[in-house]
């Protein structure tokens, strides 16, 4: 027929799409499970961990394949197939595997919805990090966000969890509206939604009359939308409340996966689509980075609750990633690509630290709620709950300490590699002010990690005598998670060679 003759179906590279398929398949298997009686404990987690693990391995294979293939787009330009997105995809899969393992042990009921939501959230994140089209990207954002809203509210016994879910939902809706309006304005000026297409259109429009005010208004709204997801100051206000209220393992999941997805999408959008407008957005990114760095670290140190502390610290980390984006905005500089790769490396390394740290917090808070079940209302994640943990369980405390040191950016940990990368990018693009502010902020934030360490190692436990009977108990999946996170942190901290070797190829975008 005529119609069939005109319609050219897109060539679909099924293998390149296999990670997404693996994630969807896992979610579908779990949802089909709702038709069957309750599965034995741990099986739901096994399914989600396995499908994320398969997706991760497939991503690693494709990452390796791209060593001798050029980056390209998939499905008629809807998705980008490049190392930049794939490294983020690997980090997402790792975060899902870790979170599945910590969730198995969590206090919330062993429900299949929970794990299915982890996988759909991962799917949304996976689409965000590789989307080469604003509409596809928006689909990813919504898939991710809706899953996270539900996950945040999933602890039905705690009103704080309900409140967190609702707050996140309302404010997230706000941000989505801004984002969508931004997409509309950009489409209005350039006539397309493809990210690489926008880039080439804007690069080629020398003689065309420019309507920059409208375009840049769109850019501003896009920055707001993504800035909300990344929790940049002043779009961060939801972060402490939601991180605090959500179940702890969900918080770790949001901090790692949400941040990876949003940062990677933001960097791709700005560097691929708007390099010609870098002079306009770079000062805004600069201002956001400064605010985020300082507010994040200063507010972190006055908190008394460890989850809130880590929430503010995640804001401060987002500021560091913005330092990388700011460097990437120096388009003329030869080091601009360092900015791109350093921001990516930072968020990938942070995602491991975040999952590990929040898993450690969940261990302590679980323990605290077991011990002091009578005193209702008192938070089980206050700093006091960490007093003397090192005396009852020194190995666990040591592992947590390594993760905290890494977050503080101490050398020989992955956190140092991350911080060094963005600061070096800032210095080599001559953004000295930002480099100095980032280092100052790192120093301020170090105080917060030290407070937790001091509490663990030097303070006396609240319950008085420290006996091993009172030690927090760690199940096998939790142990595996913590040990793996610590191992990744130390190995990449001591031998960052591999990361540094691939970092050049990370900045090659599919266009």
């Amino acid at each position: 027929m005529d119609i069939a003759g005109d319609f050219l179906p897109p060539t679909i590279e099924w293998f390149a799409l296999s990670p997404y398929i693996a994630l969807v398949a896992g979610a579908l298997i779990l949802l089909l499970g709702s038709l069957t009686p309750q599965w034995p404990r741990g099986w739901y987690g096994l399914v989600s961990a396995t499908s994320a693990g398969v997706a991760g391995v497939l991503s690693v294979l494709q990452f390796a394949n791209l060593a001798d293939e050029l980056p390209r787009t998939l499905v008629k330009g809807a998705l980008a197939h490049d190392r930049f997105g794939l490294l983020a995809l690997i980090a997402i899969c790792v975060a899902v595997v870790f979170t599945s393992m910590t969730t198995v042990d969590a206090d919330t009921s062993d429900s299949l919805e929970h794990f299915a939501l982890l996988l759909t959230a991962a799917l949304g994140a996976a689409i965000m990090v590789t989307a080469n089209d604003l509409v596809v990207s928006f689909l990813g954002i919504e898939t991710l966000s809706l899953s996270l809203y539900v996950l945040a509210a999933s602890d039905r016994r705690r009103s704080a969890s309900q409140e967190a879910g609702l707050k996140y939902f309302i404010l997230g809706g706000f941000a989505s509206a801004f984002l969508l309006y931004g997409i509309a304005l950009v489409y209005g000026t350039t006539g397309q939604t493809s990210i690489s297409g926008i880039g080439s259109t804007l690069a080629g429009e020398v003689s065309v009359p420019r309507n920059d005010a409208m375009l840049l208004a769109g850019v501003a709204l896009l920055l707001v939308g993504f800035g909300f997801k990344v929790s940049l100051v002043p779009f961060h206000s939801w972060t402490p409340d939601v991180y605090h209220g959500a179940p702890t393992h969900v918080t770790g999941f949001m901090a790692s996966l949400g941040k990876v997805a949003a940062i990677v999408a933001l960097v791709r959008l700005f560097v691929v689509a708007f390099p010609t407008r870098a002079d306009d957005w770079r000062p805004a990114v600069f201002a956001l980075a400064v605010l985020t760095l300082l507010v994040g670290s200063v507010l972190a140190i006055v908190q008394r609750d460890v989850k809130r502390m880590l929430a503010y610290s995640s804001i401060s980390h987002a500021g560091f990633m913005m330092v990388g984006l700011e460097a990437a905005g120096r388009i003329g500089s030869s080091s601009a690509s360092d900015g791109v790769s350093s921001a990516l490396v930072y968020v990938v390394l942070y995602s491991v630290l975040a999952v590990g740290s929040f898993a450690a917090v969940s261990v302590v808070s679980q323990h605290a709620s077991d011990v002091t079940s009578t005193s209702e209302g008192q938070s089980t994640t206050s700093l006091d709950a960490f007093n003397g943990v090192a005396k009852t369980n020194p190995v666990f405390a040591l592992g947590f300490t390594v993760l905290l040191l890494a977050q503080a950016g101490v050398p020989l940990t992955s956190g140092f590699v991350a911080k060094f990368g963005v600061i070096r990018a800032a210095v080599s693009t001559e953004s000295y002010v930002l480099a100095v502010l980032a280092m100052v902020s790192a120093v301020i934030a170090a105080y917060l990690y030290l407070r937790i360490m001091v509490s663990m190692w030097l303070s006396v436990p609240a319950s008085g005598e420290a006996t091993s009977a009172l030690a927090p108990k760690l199940s096998l999946p939790l142990r595996v998670t913590l040990v793996s996170a610590v191992a990744i942190t130390l190995v990449l901290g001591v031998l960052p060679t591999w990361l540094l070797d691939v970092s050049d190829s990370l900045a090659l975008f599919a266009r």
Binding site: N211, L216, P234, P240
Partner: protein
Amino acid sequence: MVDFVWLVPFLPLIGGVVLMVFGSRIGEPRAGWLATLVTATSFLVTVAVYFDLLGMPSEERSHVVTLFQWIPVGALQIDFALLADPLSITMALFVTGIGSLIHLYAIGYMHGDPKFSKFFLYLNLFVFSMLMLVLGENLLVTFLGWEGVGACSYFLISFWHTRNSAAVAGKKAFVTNRIGDWGVMTAMFVAFSAVGSVSYKAINDAAHEGAMSQTAISAIAILLFVGACGKSAQLPLYFWLPDAMEGPTPVSALIHAATMVTAGVFLMTRVGPVLAESYGWVPDTIAIVGAATALFAASIAVAQHDIKRVLAYSTVSQLGFMFLAIGSGAYVAAIFHMVTHAFFKALLFLGSGSVIHGMHHEQDMRKMGALRTAMPVTAFTFIIGWLAIAGVPPFAGFWSKDEILLYVYADNRLLYAIGMLAALLTAYYMTRQVIMVFFGEARWHDAASEHGAHGDFRPHESPKVMLIPLMVLAVLSVVGGAMQLPFSKDLHFLEHWLEPVVEEAERSISGTWAYDNKYVLLLAAIVVAAAGIALALAVYARRRLPAIEPKALENAWWYDATVARLVGGPGAATFRGITRFDSQVVDGAVNGAAALARGVGSQVRRSQSGFVRAYAVILSLGTVVLLAWFVWRGWLAS
């Protein structure tokens, strides 16, 4: 064989590691035998390497053995490499050779010490570090050994750390040496920035070919000399060495007489071309410091009563002679004297240790006397050592000291006069010591009661393990001079051997008055030695003249006390001031910043009210500001 030179330091390291792990299980005396065995094996390997080198043409006698790439960082490429050449092998020969003898001796001396095996662990580690120092192909490997010997020296000085004086002496040696280490490190930095390498060959070649500015060359030379002053106990950093005598006597012999303290002389010889190309005042400074130290320390030795302190000041004085030689361009003579000095000073120290051992740890010479009958072997060997150091022909010390003075005469006659005076004093105080210890009347009967001996306190001769090293060293002290006899060019064995290393720097004195009339100078040296001995005999044996031992000399010109008071008084006050500055101003700034951060945080925190409407307002305000910025930019563009 030369490729196996790495075995030389490696064997003592193995010994040290074995003793570290199994030391207490091996126990006494096997730990001592093990340590002695590895050092002796290392000596044999060195001898093999020596003959290997000897079989090669002289210009090929320099072998670099690279073990691994140590520091490959950008332009900084440092290999962990050893250099086997005549100089390093000469050093390694006497370090391992004398080291083995002293190990053997220590088996007897340390008998019954509760930390017996630990002592040998330190000794082995010391030998390893010392060998790294002399065999290093570049400044950094040498510096590794340099720090290693410093640390081992510190452990060994304060080996009996329950004695307060030993602990204090160890600390003093350590702190003083840090000043010298600063010099070596800074020299290394300068060399790297000027040459781009820290290997000796690169530095020496750059200096010789003029690839470096003369200022850089002089800076490297003078900074290394600062390091050498610390390690080799020269003015003004000498004062740790006499206190280092708190350590066990084998330590004094090995580290503080024969090997470690000569590291500075070795380093100066190693960078001879750098010294030769630096500004004229650099060698002059070295010569003046050496001469001043030689005289100063000899004058102090005249009035000491502790048997080991006499020898300690004597060591400082002899090291001064070596630096005098370096400053006068007589590198071969400096190495020559270093080797002979290692023989006779090790002999004297071990002899004094034997005396102390026999006297039940009495070190005051005023409580000795007439010991030659009680310990004949010790007395006989000690007397040989005395003749060697006093400069009596044909003993070893005579030839080497004469060689130095010959070059000094050609260089500067005032320094020659000072050297002669120091030589006179040397003969004097050594004669005094021999008379006080081995001749005259026995004064140890009075001392018997102090030691709680049961009325029959008698000094006794030491066991065989201690006497054999004494005899070997005595023989060497007699014949050591044969290495380099002045009579004919054919007899300059050491000079021919060292020629490839020192040819660029060695000063030529042929044709000067001193060279043509060297027998006159030889005679003068004999006269001076004889005068010193005669004077001491007149004072202490015949008692014709009153003993001149003024308090000023006994207290070492109050130099040590003055330094102590300066460091303890104004010095400590300065450091307290700095601490106060640090705690109040620097910490205050840091604490202030922290307080500020907390204060601001507490204020801003109020905005985090928990109400969604408030958050929405913040979000919207932020959006408005961002929008305003971008729209303004867009409006400007269009």
